[in-house]
Symmetry: none
Subunit: 242 residues, 2 copies
């Protein structure tokens, strides 16, 4: 199963037609080749209750929730408060983030720095970038700023963590009816319960009768399962292996 | 109270990053000057249950629901069935629409014409256009095709029916960081709670750093709020006003 994602775009400026959302199209294009299936996009006004409700629903429906917008220092930046409420967490000052802002934003008012250092309790800072601004991770919710240039730099910096492990695959082509070796397949599944094992008869194929597919994200596990299967199958029925 | 709208964008091709949705930005830009407040956009996969659920929720939450996409003749065009299910209606052949398709699509297969003439029971055809294709109206739900060029022609043809009192707008361009005047914005919002006040940083703009937008349907209220804000902001940071 592919991992799923829901995108929450936050900002009155998009709903009122002042700004065209460039971040959700970017995410759709980027997440697909990483193996993540975007299942929903929603664009919401700057309203705590509405955002909280959607964050809560998305966080339980999808593997990842990515929010964009509403994380600046002004009155209409309500994402942090909303995510916290949606996930049932308190808003707290993050000591590391506070120190970071102290270092980079020394000249700005303390109230602004405090707002920018406020996060839902239990937030992890994701900062693989050269930028002084982190992505916030709260459980399976990733909080990004809305400014597209900044958004892209931050997403690009952390995107590899969304990459799904590719499946490793082995094929075995067999010249025998399924019924003659079905018990061997069951034995392999008993020994290797995490293996994905498929058996596909191809009635009109002159070269073999059944194609077996063995799949796992763990290549060593796959190899052991493959050897186990070959040890069970009569040698003369195996036509080919890939 | 402004009329509200929810936009339902339908199509796997958008979620998988193959196509960028151009219709919801167009609707946001067009509905705003008509005085309609877009409250929500959602992008959904081609799945009947998911679409039905959202259409039902939007139809009771907002004054207008506009759907775009999923109305063609192929297997993945499930909007009609979904809207019908969401609103608890049967799908029926619309006699007028059937006659229209008979006249314009005589050469196409009858099965295709029948699918295209199928609508939720009680559908009204909106056809102020020169086009042979109507917008479908089912209660407060307006069903549009997804193809942007066609979508725009159809929307433009019926858009006057959505017109409300317009919003009045003032812009103030500021040459200072948001953090230095965030407290003034809060003061304005306290004094003018019905004002819609937006603050939009533009990091790469040499002329100003932040664009403030003030909006209201009451022009006198807007002017008072505008004066209040200008009295609070240091005069030397205001670059321009529109």
């Amino acid at each position: 199963m592919a991992k799923t994602a829901g995108i929450v775009v936050i900002g009155n400026e998009i709903l009122s037609g002042k700004v065209v959302d460039a971040n959700s199209p970017y995410l759709c294009q980027e997440l697909r080749p990483l193996g993540v299936d975007v299942r929903r996009i929603v664009v919401l006004p700057d309203e705590v209750e509405v955002i909280a409700e959607h964050v809560a629903a998305f966080a339980s429906a999808f593997d990842y929730v990515l929010t964009t917008g509403g994380v600046g220092p002004t009155h209409d930046d309500v994402t942090i408060e909303s995510v916290a409420r949606g996930l049932g967490r308190q808003v707290v000052i993050h000591p590391e983030l506070s120190a970071l802002l102290q270092a980079h934003w020394a000249e700005r008012p303390a109230a602004v720095r405090d707002k920018m250092a406020s996060v839902p309790e239990g937030t992890q800072l994701l900062m693989e970038a050269s930028l002084p601004i982190p992505v916030l991770r709260i459980g399976n919710v990733y909080v990004f700023p809305g400014i597209p240039k900044l958004f892209r730099r931050l997403f690009d910096d952390i995107k590899e963590r969304f990459r799904e492990l590719p499946y490793h695959t082995r094929h075995v082509y067999v010249r025998a009816r399924e019924s003659t070796f079905a018990h061997h397949l069951e034995a392999v599944m008993t020994a290797f319960p995490d293996l994905m094992l498929g058996s596909y008869p191809e009635v009109d194929n002159p070269a073999y009768r059944v194609k077996l597919t063995l799949e796992s994200k763990d290549p060593a596990y796959l190899e052991r399962a493959h050897e186990h299967l070959l040890a069970l199958l009569p040698a003369d029925v195996v036509v080919d292996m890939v």
